[in-house]
Symmetry: D2
Subunit: 309 residues, 4 copies
């Protein structure tokens, strides 16, 4: 495999200072700055159309469905009757797309700080959102998710945190703190569930943020279930953590057949990654990941935040 692509333009992403992933670029659909971040929409040879924020890949056409089904479906399927759902972040519109598959849903509030990014995704990533922004059940708000939750009165059945990594100086790091999770918990209805994208889970990366997020959530929630899935365009296995109060269903304990039955009940078609077997696979974390979480001591607070590298 020594032939270089005839393409001469490449997108380089430093996964770590010692590891670079380079993708050939067929077209730069958009590049520019919003008030919050640097945005690129790229057509790549390896992953199709990609959204990149501040030099980090957010999702790609070739595998966004792995990421978004993995993020959304476990908690949505585990919840007996998800009617009100909040999504923090999720600018591509694919997170709400997955939520809207559930016929039970009556209200989806998507709160994404960066209107410009959402507008760009709406225009340039139709394969991601598939028209979900136009669903009458969706309210789209451009404000701080934390501020929104503070004043929200009606509780949610499911809250999905799909914000960028907690970068130093970035807009998202306050949404990875014990204070934020306490706020989330107070806004969940009985039996409610939260899930959050929680950073990489590889042997050399799991201690960056995943273990600290898991430990922090364990301070606040009764049920905390980590899981992960490989996202090729990230060049990494990515972690998610589902949480609930004492009356919440245990997401990780669902059997293949329970998951498949509920999917059959609720979702007509369209899932490509997720079903009962895949659910089982995601929650079967390697021993080293579980041991790293068990050994973690950090609790993330506003005063002691963690930052992704």
């Amino acid at each position: 495999m020594n032939g270089l692509s005839p393409r001469t333009l490449w997108y380089l992403e430093h996964l770590t200072p010692d590891l670079v992933q380079a993708s050939s670029v067929r077209q730069v659909i958009f590049e520019g700055d919003t008030p919050y971040q640097h945005v690129q929409v790229l057509e790549t040879g390896s992953f199709g159309r990609m959204l990149v924020l501040d030099g980090k890949t957010q999702s790609s056409e070739s595998d966004e469905w792995v990421y978004h089904e993995a993020l959304v479906q476990p908690v949505m399927v585990a919840h007996a009757n998800p009617r009100r759902v909040m999504v923090a972040g999720g600018g591509e519109g694919a997170t709400i797309r997955e939520v809207l598959r559930h016929g039970t849903v009556e209200e989806v509030v998507m709160v994404d700080l960066d209107k410009a990014v959402v507008d760009l995704c709406r225009e340039h990533l139709p394969a991601h959102h598939q028209g979900s922004f136009d669903d009458p059940r969706v309210s789209l708000l451009h404000e701080d998710a934390l501020a929104y939750l503070e004043q929200r009165e009606t509780p949610f059945d499911v809250i999905i945190i799909d914000v960028p990594d907690p970068l130093e100086g970035g807009p998202a790091y306050l949404l990875f703190t014990v204070e934020f999770y306490e706020l989330v918990r107070s806004r969940l209805a009985p039996g409610g569930l939260m899930v959050a994208q929680s950073g990489p889970t590889g042997p050399t990366t799991v201690r960056e943020v995943f273990t600290a997020i898991a430990r922090t959530m364990e301070r606040v929630f009764d049920e905390v279930s980590g899981y992960d899935v490989h996202i090729p365009s990230f060049g990494m296995t990515w972690g998610f953590i589902a949480c609930g109060g004492p009356d919440a269903p245990n997401v990780s304990a669902m059997s293949d057949t329970e998951v498949d039955a509920r999917v059959r009940e609720r979702i007509a078609s369209g899932l490509r990654f997720y079903d009962g077997t895949a659910h089982r696979g995601m929650f079967g974390l390697p021993k080293f990941v579980r041991e790293a979480v068990a050994a973690e001591k950090r609790i993330i607070t506003r005063d002691n935040p963690v930052f992704a590298v």
Copy 2:
């Protein structure tokens, strides 16, 4: 994460013509040619010490234990009493290291065509083999695995195929054919199991070789169970397939507690990736992988081989 490592030497691997993984190199331990292949032993910034054959990463210090535990432990643990084990390939010595953890083992025959690679690994990859080549139960042969099996009389309990990808012109492609699997089956003792590394399983790569290997094995074996795991230094999720005759245990059906009980019984210590939960996780393949296998039509034969890209 925009700071480039101060390192100026980089190892570039084309995962596909449109995707390159670049790792900083701290030291070139060895580079040269054997009669069969080009060999590099590199000390990298991202993955520690790595073995590269013909420009493809074979394993790295930082995650070889994920690969080798995933390859070896499911079949070894599933087998009630593995005494005679054959390893085809496995030059680093880490495959036999995993086999030798089982106190039941009396004989390990490792057949690796390329003596020069094995000698290099023995010298330069001590953290991989951990002295396993010196175990008196191990016979090390440098010949063609196919020719060896043809003349072998005593059957094996477990046969492990850990050879490089089926590259065009490379030494390994004949070990990915229906003819070879029939030979393997004829050399398995009753209740015997085979497992083979079977190529990548990502959304854009699973159809390269994994699905065809799975279909080909289904022609020959009664029980065929695919599974996968993410190997960071490969930049990919990697597939394995375990197979057995009608009297063989069903590897994928073992429960967490059965796996954990057997590991406790047989293995004193040392596993970092594998246990009952991880076993469950590996066999929980995503829906798209299982659907791709189901849709596959190719059966690999000597006359119609498949080649990895």
Copy 3:
């Protein structure tokens, strides 16, 4: 100098199979195909706006004036009264810009096969052409330069060959043959001069095409004077060769003061690279370049063309 630019898009050009030049890309102004070639107009961090044809840099804002003054001025200045000038190629419009500096010029015929490239340059490279296409003395033709010359009756005082390298399968290689140079000679007025861009002149590259072009021209012309100049965006020193008949001025023999006097006479302002001292510098070729030309045996013909690598 280890800090990587925060830019994540890079343009990679293989100068040789073992040497790559990578420039950060601020904006892809245009990328697409014409009937003749693949075209990119890139805004780079290192060289400003660049024109790339078939993956090879043609010129950049940061140093096109070095290239174009070096190509055009020696023959134009050496000619006592250049009135009719032909330019073959030169799509950016900077070659005619340099020609038009001479008040003596009455007619410039620019023959560039690829109308699409010229239109793109006109739109996207205003700093290159500076409006020269609108000069009433310019006729712009989109046809084969060879066919044009064959039917041209009025002879030219100066003919400038500014076509891409002689790539195999590309449009330009026939313009680097003894047959073409004979045609050019037949269309020069008494005292007329030709100049052609003639490929790289480095220690490892001068034998690729420069020496063969020089030898081929020596078959046809009486005065043949090679010279070179370093073009940073090419990552190389680039060669040019000026030729004339028996009655033509010897371009290389002009003294500093003769050049400066003629520039002062003819050109009001605008030269940044060229003057008498620079003229002397360009024609002072290194010993190894002159020895390589002297040792060259190849004569380029239609039947035995040479191709740039």
Copy 4:
């Protein structure tokens, strides 16, 4: 030229934050740290064997003779009778090799701070030094060039400054100051000449250090003649400046025939780059270089040093 070399190891050098030169690496001959700097000796596909200090290419087998002949020969040839010569730096041994070509030479004092680099060059770069270190006329000292000159009593006919770029924190920046040049001048015999490598001279790089060095030398010396030459492995045109007192020959004013006559007189064979024509070429600096020097205001002092980027 889209085919990637089958080589998988590459040496990357940031020429600027926006420009990277990548060379395939056939062998890492040496990599390690001395008390003063990080050293790499690399066998590259594009330039042969290379010496790299602190991530910057110092010289390569394929073009070191261009660099070293250009550095040494103009002043050596211009001097009527160079008997005593000092070289500051020049670790590869190629600078003294060029000096020793002159039969007039009786004493060469080479002062290079970093013994470890010199030892490595002696062992690994035989094509560079060609045994010059063993010439009985050579004294090799490992100390600070400035301290050595301060206590030196017998004056030199020629002093050659071949030290690395003035990097911040590096060992060489004090050898690019008005104070150092005054010291050099005081140690030159009547008619003596100094030359120094003086940084890049491209359109975007000439103002980094070349112009300031030139202006600083003009404060101290009567005759100051800048010149440059392209070094492919540097990816740049490189500048040198020759200086002398009131009684020194004007290096730049030598004619082709004067240079050739003196070379014939003194040097039996071996020059590949330099002769009378090449001399003329080097001193014919482009207009923009001379204008940049004329416009420069910085005078480099110990208290106001300049640093290469």
